[in-house]
């Protein structure tokens, strides 16, 4: 789940107060650049690769990865966005509304999908995303790219491309923006 969404959701509500800067703007750019290279290396090019950013935090990151891939390979893979609200397992437990309309550009049958999110936490958003993708076709494989892996997984899900592994407490909040990554808390 995008951390942004968690922030406006009970019991996490409040205002985010940053405590530590974990990645600077430059660190973020370097990580994007490295992850782009890893995606190309792992897939032996970009044949049938599709980047899918998860609403909301994963979408800008997916576009940045797409831009980096274009610089390296001369072409950007298709970049889409996916909102997993209707596939979440906590519908009824907290208010769940989609943030934006899903926009997947390519035919996903046989594609290599790289799911992109800003923060990997419990893994439940990714579980919902895997479920959602099946409504669009049968990809050849699905990979996962995240800027920050903060641990505390509740499902057997692991990322393929990681910007930074960041040990956290459960009650901390990781905030990924274009400027960098901050670690902090929600203050009521």
């Amino acid at each position: 789940m995008a951390e942004r969404e968690r922030r406006i959701t009970p019991p996490y509500g409040g205002v985010f107060v940053a405590r530590t800067r974990v990645m600077s703007h430059d660190d973020l750019n370097r990580a994007v650049w490295r992850m782009a290279h890893e995606i190309i290396e792992h897939n032996h090019g970009l044949e049938r690769v599709v980047l899918v950013g998860l609403q909301t935090g994963g979408v800008p990151l997916a576009h940045r990865l797409g831009a980096a891939l274009e610089q390296i390979e001369g072409e950007s893979p298709p970049v889409g966005s996916l909102d997993v609200a209707f596939y979440r397992d906590d519908i009824g437990l907290r208010p769940v509304l989609p943030e934006a309309v899903t926009d997947l550009p390519a035919d996903l049958d046989g594609a290599t999908i790289v799911l992109v999110d800003d923060v990997l936490f419990t893994g439940r958003t990714i579980r919902a995303a895997l479920d959602a993708l099946t409504a669009y076709g049968r990809p050849r494989s699905v990979q996962l790219a995240v800027m920050v892996d903060r641990g505390h997984r509740e499902l057997p899900i692991r990322p393929d491309y990681v910007g930074k592994n960041l040990p956290t407490r459960r009650d901390e909040v990781v905030d990924v923006t274009d400027d960098g990554v901050d670690l902090g808390e929600m203050v009521k």
Binding site: I8, P98, V101
Partner: protein, 316 residues
């Protein structure tokens, strides 16, 4: 929001806009190769239809299935209602089987309100007498917004049997809440007595109104409710109030034609006009499914209060 009984339950423009925004997501869901999401798994929805319906019932049924809800069908013709069971007993019987929502259509105004007071399940008004049909108004707003971007400042004429039309009542509320200017065009005998209090203009001259409108919304001549000899003949109605081919030529080229269905081709709308490219009648039906998915999801799944922002939901 627990029930959707009237357009007013949506809390004005912000609530209506929220339903329309959510509908965008369900339009996308409906376009997928597998147009189904698990959002309402384990929820049961029952239909309590005391009046005939094709599109509303099929539309709700499709919407529920695309949300993975289970549905319970009930048709008055083959039920214990024929043995004299009251509305209250029927509603409570259905509820006792464990339903989360009851979609009610009834010939009497206010029947869904009564049902809502008897049961804990969410009640959705799918048309009650001459009173309201809120999901029709929502799908009409969505269809206009899809074409024109917004209803703000648009001129919409609603033509025909306003008096017996629940669609007209709900649409006047919704259109005016979203900032449209509404003109009712009808013979004086087919205007309701309370119309002075509605936020509308009134005209008896369709030819004068047509060149000024962005949308002309035709109502069905409800022959089954016309027991009071309000019109000499249907041919006279068509001559003065029907959207004939000659009258359609008075419309601006970009003006839109809408009709809630079922159409009486040749009465309120000429067959050729119904099939014009600017006629949105099929779009209305298509959007109806997505709008009803949004309504069902808001009532049964989202846990969200309408008309509040995400930030406000936290503070509540």
């Amino acid at each position: 929001m627990t029930h959707l009984l009237s357009v007013d339950d949506l809390g004005g423009a912000s609530g209506i806009e929220e339903v329309l925004r959510l509908t965008d997501s369900f339009v996308e869901v409906s376009a997928r190769s597998i147009p189904k999401v698990p959002a309402l798994r384990g929820k049961t929805i029952a239909w309590l239809f005391y009046e005939d319906s094709t599109r509303t019932r099929l539309s709700f049924e499709t919407a529920a299935k695309r949300l993975s809800a289970d549905t319970m069908n009930f048709s008055v013709g083959s039920s214990s209602v024929n043995k004299g069971e009251s509305l209250r007993d029927t509603a409570r019987t259905i509820e006792a089987m464990g339903v989360d929502a009851i979609v009610v259509r009834h010939g009497s105004a206010g029947a869904p309100h009564r049902v809502a007071s008897w049961v804990d399940a969410s009640v959705i008004n799918a048309g009650d007498g001459w009173h309201e049909h809120p999901t029709q108004a929502l799908l009409d707003c969505y269809t206009i917004r899809q074409q024109l971007g917004s209803l703000e400042g648009r001129h919409i004429a609603i033509v025909g049997d306003i008096k017996h039309s629940r669609v007209a009542r709900s649409n006047v509320l919704a259109f005016s809440a979203l900032g449209a200017e509404v003109t009712l065009v009808a013979p004086p005998t087919l205007l309701p007595p309370s119309v002075d209090t509605w936020p509308v203009k009134i005209s008896n001259d369709l030819d004068a109104v047509l060149p000024t409108v962005d949308v002309v919304y035709l109502l069905r001549m409800q022959r089954e409710r016309m027991t009071e000899s309000l019109l000499p003949t249907l041919r006279e109605y068509t001559a003065f109030w029907g959207l004939t081919v000659a009258r359609a030529a008075l419309l601006r080229p970009d003006a839109l034609v809408m009709h809630p269905g079922p159409m009486n081709r040749g009465v309120e709308i000429a067959a050729e006009v119904a099939d014009l490219p600017q006629s949105l009648i099929i779009d209305q039906v298509r959007n109806g499914v997505a709008v009803r998915m949004a309504v069902l999801y808001l009532l049964l799944g989202s846990g969200a209060e309408l008309g509040t922002t995400a930030e406000e939901r936290v503070r509540a």
